[in-house]
């Protein structure tokens, strides 16, 4: 038992001090008829060496970016993580601490959260940020719930069909039993037309959710959409790719009321979908409606600058069923990672990542569009992702063979979410992809397309 310090003698001495005859007696509160009368049916214990071999074997049977070239994105991205991020985030003082209930014992975390909040406001152009939520999808759902109480309109919420389908599913789940109508506005050309949005808005609409760049990688006309939304008295909620903000206008500069984002790109590994980082920032006037932990600056009794969790009367441990959300903790370690990442990159570094991703994605799109049988689905400006149409029925064999024959994770098929795009797949290019890898992708798909047609 590698993690237990109690020796047999310790146990005897402790039982004696307690006045108990045996370990079993300590469980007297649990009625005998409720006790498990056998051992749990689990595999036997492994030593560290055996465990390391076992997980090493499982890891070896799983493809990763260590041995495959990844053109998958759709909300989870293979961006480069500087060694600084792992080195600092693996300090036990950070990752084995907990929520700063005692600020005197947690100034390291609290200051890092305050810095994180500041960095997020700098990145998004918004007034305030919380100390993070679970992930981009649940942050988007929470933001839409916020618009209900902020506008006191409880009739309708609107979401563009070009928003990540899983974000829309989460929103759907969260709204299922609250009696709010969720209207999804179609995006046939790859983006949301301001006129289509205008037609869906009514005076009971609390909020509109748009993603920038959207799920297809295309850029939405944010300023126009914000204006249409505000004209109807609703709030404009924007889900952004934080990396894109190295280049693109900030949501605060085109009228966003609440900004959410998946923060995984900012220095966290893809980890098969989690843990990730839910970013949320908003305009000042909504801060008391925001869910999640918020760190504030104050002074201690000697007048020294310091940081605490604040505005806690929003939260479940104080307000219980009247809280703004049921969320308890933030994603502290991943907020820290984002903080280290942004501090290390700075404005120029972030710009370079965004620019490299953009340029390589455009190079890749040009190469793939030149492959016989493939074409780009949307004729809209795009950032680091784009939708490719394949000949009818060939998406699956194309992607399968590119993986099996050439070790390429070539794209995400879209038919699961968009029946009309059943012959399409989404390709993502980050700064990590080299020209050589992109050329290999084009050659591989060209070769396979010729074979399978």
């Amino acid at each position: 038992m590698p993690y237990l310090a109690n020796t047999a003698e310790d146990q005897q001495a402790m039982l004696m001090a307690i006045g108990a005859g045996s370990l079993d007696e300590l469980f007297a509160q649990v009625p005998a008829e409720l006790r498990l009368q056998r051992s749990l049916n689990l595999p036997p214990a492994l030593t560290e060496l055996e465990l390391t071999q076992h997980l090493g074997e499982l890891s070896a049977r799983t493809a990763s970016t260590a041995d495959k070239v990844c053109f998958l994105g759709a909300g989870s991205y293979d961006h480069f993580i500087p060694a600084v991020v792992d080195a600092i985030a693996s300090r036990g003082e950070f990752y084995t601490s907990y929520t700063p209930y005692q600020p005197e014992a947690s100034q390291g975390n609290l200051q890092a959260f305050f810095e994180y909040q500041t960095l997020i406001t700098q990145l998004t152009g918004m007034d305030v940020s919380n100390a993070s939520l679970y992930d981009g999808a649940s942050a988007a759902a929470e933001a839409m719930l916020m618009t209900l109480t902020a506008t006191k309109r409880y009739g309708r919420l609107i979401v563009a069909r070009s928003v990540h389908p899983e974000y829309r599913q989460v929103l759907d789940t969260y709204l299922e039993h609250l009696g709010i109508e969720l209207v999804t506005v179609g995006t046939p050309g790859g983006t949301l037309a301001p006129a289509d949005l205008a037609a869906a808005l009514n005076n009971e609409t609390a909020g509109v959710l748009v993603q920038q760049p959207n799920f297809f990688g295309c850029l939405e006309e944010m300023a126009e959409l914000a204006e249409v939304t505000h004209r109807a008295g609703a709030l404009f909620v924007v889900a952004v790719d934080p990396i894109s903000l190295g280049l693109l206008r900030r949501p605060g500069d085109y009228g966003a009321d609440i900004v959410v984002a998946e923060g995984q790109s900012l220095g966290s590994p893809m980890s098969f979908g989690g843990p990730y980082l839910g970013i949320m920032a908003c305009r000042e006037e909504f801060v008391r409606r925001m869910p999640g932990r918020i760190t504030g600056q104050t002074v201690d009794r000697h007048g020294r600058r310091c940081w605490v969790l604040t505005l806690q009367t929003r939260e479940q441990h104080i307000r219980r069923e009247k809280a703004t959300s049921n969320i308890c903790t933030n994603q502290g370690l991943f907020a820290l990672r984002a903080c280290i990442y942004l501090a290390t990159l700075g404005p120029q570094g972030l710009r370079e990542v965004a620019e490299l991703s953009l340029r390589k994605a455009h190079y890749a799109a040009d190469r793939l569009a030149a492959v016989d049988g493939l074409s780009l689905e949307f004729d809209r400006p795009y950032f680091k992702e784009f939708v490719v149409r394949a000949p009818r029925g060939l998406v699956e064999p194309l992607l399968e063979r590119a993986y099996r024959d050439d070790g390429l994770l070539a794209g995400v098929p879209l038919g699961r979410w968009y029946p009309e795009l059943a012959d399409c797949f989404l390709v993502t290019v980050t700064e990590k992809r080299t020209r050589g890898e992109i050329d290999r992708l084009a050659e591989s798909l060209s070769h396979i397309a010729a074979l399978v047609r």
Binding site: M14, S39, S64, A105, T118, H177, L219, F272, I318, P347
Partner: protein, 487 residues
């Protein structure tokens, strides 16, 4: 020696022109950005982030880290949070490429090792819970509660029933009623007895055909196992309701008793507590749920299934509630939970519970002569002492004690929770602490209680800061750094 220069804010350390990382030049044709994107979409300048060189970043955060107490550095008996040791091997294993550098939309055939692990974990959790089916999706305990409640709504809807009420004991975590509200329920509070158990008369009075779910934490937040649980479950089941078990305190009963066996229909686990996932300064955790077979069709998608030795993600579940988050779940946390369960095996898990309960009872025996413990002489994994008398006699509060403990090199217990005990200190030592540590903690508490109250009001004296002005923080919120306005 503390380095206070490096712990200035990042923004104060910034100087234009510095940078911590460079990226390669583009190896693809470069054309003017305006040709790739419309000018209206482009920012005039990158965001005004701070500018630092790599060594400054490292020194800044390294010095910040030293301002934290953590499990690696201190005894951290924060009740209800199960601050046990976080095994180093789990960190290394979760960082393996086939765990950490895997995209969530890779094809199933590329995921066989990881899916085998996740399938195994689903099965282990079902076995530990004594329930039938598991969803690994929820991102945290609170989200697990919400997910399970949504599963309950879907279940009742399918049966043509609408039950608008969720019953919650007054000693429950605040997340319980908050989750109920988010799932569209009205949450009704059930009183506890002075001994901290569910008041059965009050439960009977509030239980009817409008009750969907009774949420119970057992062992409860006082660290007591509510032996009435079978009777409670029978009452709720007879009324047509479901029992939800908040699994926050599973550490106490691993391999000893199983929620499914004592009447729970659904529950969540906190792998970051019970299965040693690091708390990360406040997350990430995970909140997998386990349910009875009749509730399984409603679990979120996807779940991992096994067909002839091949693992797959199953999305074809027409009765599913959908999703509560994107992608699969908090895989990194789940990998650590798997590693922890495999490290211990069935007997090891039971010994964890035994030693957690032994340590708590031993510490209770050492503390009860110093501070009253209203619940009596025995507990499960944690206990709640009260400083109510101390406050009356000496004017020192639970918070004063908590602050002074920091000076003695111990993280404070949870204070002022549960709400049912005045001036409460909730103490959970966990199984990974030694008798010597527990003795030292009790000795420190004894020493502190002999100190004059005035000294306690001034505590802590040795920490980087002392008694921050929280009222000011809330009344004049400063939630971000901003540059000084230029004169």
């Amino acid at each position: 020696m503390r380095n206070t220069r490096s712990t200035q804010l990042l923004f104060e350390l910034s100087k234009p022109g510095r940078r911590g990382v460079c990226f390669p030049a583009a190896d693809v044709p470069t054309q003017p950005l305006e040709r790739l994107l419309p000018k209206s979409a482009l920012a005039d300048a990158p965001p005004p982030l701070p500018e630092l060189a790599e060594p400054e970043v490292v020194r800044h955060f390294t010095n910040l880290s030293t301002l934290n107490m953590s499990v690696d550095t201190h005894f951290y008996p924060l009740g209800s949070c199960t601050m046990k040791y976080n095994p180093k091997r789990n960190e290394r294993l979760a960082a393996l490429p086939g765990m950490a550098h895997v995209h969530p939309y890779q094809p199933d055939e590329s995921l066989q090792g990881l899916l085998a692990l996740l399938f195994g974990l689903q099965q282990y959790l079902a076995e530990i819970a004594g329930l039938d089916a598991v969803s690994l999706q929820p991102a945290a305990g609170a989200q697990g509660e919400l997910t399970a409640l949504l599963v309950a709504v879907a279940y009742f809807k399918d049966r043509g029933e609408r039950r608008p009420h969720v019953l919650v004991p007054d000693s429950a975590h605040g997340t319980n009623p908050a989750s109920a509200a988010m799932a569209g329920f009205e949450s009704i509070t059930v009183r506890s007895t002075p001994a901290g158990l569910v008041d059965l008369d009050d439960l009977r009075a509030k239980l009817d055909d409008q009750t969907a779910v009774f949420m119970i934490t057992n062992p409860n937040t006082l660290g007591m196992f509510d032996a009435q649980i079978r009777e409670i479950a029978d009452l709720v089941h007879k009324a047509g309701g479901l029992i939800y078990l908040d699994g926050a305190n599973m550490n106490a009963i691993l391999g000893i008793a199983r929620p499914g066996d004592f009447g729970a229909d659904m529950m969540h686990f906190n792998p970051h507590k019970t299965f040693s996932g690091p708390h990360g300064g406040g997350g990430p955790g995970a909140g997998p749920i386990a349910v009875r077979a009749k509730l399984a069709p409603y679990l979120p998608v996807p779940v991992v299934v096994e067909r002839d030795g091949h693992y797959a993600l199953d999305y074809e579940r027409p009765k599913s509630i959908g999703r509560v988050r994107s992608f699969f779940g908090n895989t990194g946390v789940l990998v650590r939970a798997y590693a922890y369960i495999r490290t211990h095996g069935p007997d090891g898990l039971r010994r964890i519970a035994e030693n957690a309960v032994l340590n708590a009872n031993y510490l209770l025996s050492q503390v009860k002569g110093l501070l009253p413990v209203p619940q009596g002489d025995r507990c499960m994994h944690e206990f709640v002492a009260t400083a109510a008398r101390l406050k009356q006699e000496k004017g020192a509060t639970a918070m004063d004690l908590a602050k002074r403990l920091l000076d003695y090199g111990f993280h404070a217990p949870t204070v002022y929770f549960p709400l049912t005990v005045r001036e409460s200190l909730m103490i959970e030592p966990t199984e990974t602490e030694s008798k010597e540590t527990l003795d030292a903690f009790a000795a420190a508490l004894a020493q502190i209680l002999s100190e004059p109250a005035a000294a306690l009001h001034d505590a802590p004296l040795t920490t980087p800061i002392s008694r921050p002005d929280e009222v000011r923080a809330a009344r004049q919120p400063v939630l971000r750094w901003q540059p000084e306005p230029v004169e």
